[in-house]
Symmetry: C2
Subunit: 365 residues, 2 copies
């Protein structure tokens, strides 16, 4: 900690001399514009780094209009879904020569606004956002992004009021398929973990549809898919089988324990997030039930754990890597100047059937 | 996408007029210096945001010398360990008014160098780094950080050649305790997943100690703890019980399958990372073995999954949240001007005993 503060990086002339090339070549290399052979470029960068040169992002931005960084604002870096997306996104960005800055919001809209502020301040070339807003909410902190024409791609969730490219999955149909698979095995009492967060359970399916308007788009779509599957099978909606609690694992456990205590408990559960799945498993364990003998289970989002569990858990698997690469590609196309109309890319999730689903047991009820 | 590019944010005068305060108050508020009442500050920030004002990080940095952002360079954002650390770090940073920018390296030193470059370019006030370098390696890309006197805190791993504050756990002792717990139950053939990555297995314990010099500090310490426990119990080191493969889950599975195929296979396994644990579980499943009846197992790093597995898995749990908050606090203290000598903070990890350890079975061998 005794090293002195040094604010004098080498000049372009110093780098040029040390690398044995002309000043213009150094300027092109360090500025990231024009044409320089890869070999010469590597030598210049090595020499420049040795001399303590670091590109000043603002200075570079003034020359090229680019900082070659993408900002990514995610709801939860701990969710395996976002981890997978981030890997795909990072790979696509790096192969195009862009660095990725990540901020996490934990689904908090104030933190999302702060994160957008930071990325605008750091002059990123574009932003990928998984918004914390409900599907019909307004998002005032995105005004500055539109005003400055910073390319924006929505990830995982749509917001009606935001006109931007988006990359999502077919949540409604994927959810319908999973619930239909449970119904096809004979289940008519299917628990849904998680529904949108509300102060109290929805009174009925109509009330639920109203609530969905202000829920995260992806959550709402998954619930609509559940309703679709029930309707197809002529099963009436029972509000006591849909959770409405805060989305933390202990709340999932408590909500599922509540369902299991009903006089007519669910014989199967569809858990629509990783934390919902672990919370559900904890409730099943606490009640001493066995899966799938006593209760069937389908999760959402695959993970290494889901397939090494006893039994291995069936899940709706999202193409996480592809979601990430596609989001990066959409953003890079905008940065490169594409002015085609904003479009929504919908990828397909697939049900992976393992051993956590069986026919409902009548003996244990 | 039809909104015009607007490069003229409001002036301080415009914000002052709209907020009904003096220009100096606006300058103090937006510049982040001097004293402004919280109420006035909030009003000015709201008005400024409405008018499209965004702090320019470089301009603010020139005034205050701070950008109020911390950079965090992690080996793997997908590892539950780093997820937990990041939560603690983010909370501590935010409560001090700092934003956190995260970059992931996947243990790649070139990507780490690029990440440091980005953070230096973005003029973060300080950096937390979990270095990809081995314990006695040199890390030339940190020269610029020292030269510019950017506060740096190492997280999870020490590097002999880097003089900086560090926050780590007592890996060696935690590992010794876990292996000793297995030995105390009667195990004398204990597999270790993962050892340092090498082209071939270490010839003997001496060779292993040489290899450890260039391994990640944390990996090396865990292996030394394993050797300590063996030595205490008078059990000779057997190189075939320590993996030396790349650290990906499928490699763990393959390495454990190899151990289980030995004429004298391990009766217990200590898996020192989450991916090592899931890879080991997959190998156990593939061989049709039951845990703990046929083979005992202790993991490293706790997760929701580990405790809902059948059986619940014993693990060495790190104080992940505390590691994160402490790293942030150390960094913030340096940013605030602390010039005390660099110090290493060692937190304690604890063995959480669940149901994955039993006495070795002689019947199944």
């Amino acid at each position: 900690m005794s090293i002195e503060h040094d604010r004098t990086p080498p000049t372009i002339s110093e780098v040029a001399e040390a690398a044995g090339v002309g000043r213009a070549t150094v300027a092109r290399t360090l500025g990231g514009y024009g044409s320089v052979s890869p070999r010469t470029r590597d030598r210049i960068l090595a020499v420049a780094r040795e001399l303590g040169y670091r590109p000043n992002s603002l200075a570079r931005s003034m020359t090229t209009g680019e900082t070659r960084t993408l900002g990514v604002v995610l709801a939860d870096v701990g969710n395996p879904f976002f981890v997978g997306v981030l890997r795909g996104l990072g790979e696509a960005a790096r192969s195009a020569g862009y660095d990725v800055l990540v901020l996490s919001t934990d689904e908090d809209r104030n933190r999302e606004a702060a994160a957008i502020d930071v990325l605008v301040g750091k002059q990123v070339d574009g932003i990928v956002l998984s918004p914390a807003a409900g599907r019909s909410d307004v998002v005032p902190h995105l005004d500055i992004v539109a005003k400055r024409a910073i390319p924006l791609v929505l990830l995982d969730r749509l917001v009606d009021t935001v006109e931007a490219d988006a990359v999502v999955i077919n949540n409604r149909e994927a959810s319908r398929q999973a619930v239909a698979a449970l119904i096809a095995r004979g289940h008519r009492r299917v628990g849904f973990v998680w529904g949108p967060v509300t102060n109290e359970p929805a009174a009925d399916a109509t009330d639920l549809r109203r609530i969905i308007d202000h829920a995260l788009w992806s959550d709402g779509e998954r619930l609509l898919g559940y309703l679709d599957a029930l309707e197809e099978a002529g099963i009436p909606f029972d509000t006591s089988l849909v959770t409405h609690v805060l989305k933390h694992e202990p709340q999932a456990t408590r909500a599922v324990l509540g369902m299991l205590a009903l006089s007519d408990p669910p014989t199967a559960i569809f858990a629509t997030e990783t934390d919902a799945l672990t919370g559900t498993l904890r409730a099943i364990r606490q009640r001493g039930l066995r899966c799938p003998d006593d209760i069937s289970l389908i999760g959402f989002d695959d993970s290494s754990w889901a397939s090494v569990m006893e039994p291995p858990i069936s899940v709706v698997a999202q193409p996480v890597h592809q979601l990430g690469t596609l989001a990066a590609e959409c953003l890079l196309a905008r940065i490169a100047g594409s002015d085609s109309p904003a479009s929504t890319h919908v990828l397909e999730a697939n049900l992976i059937e393992r051993q956590s689903v069986a026919e409902p047991s009548t003996l244990t009820r």
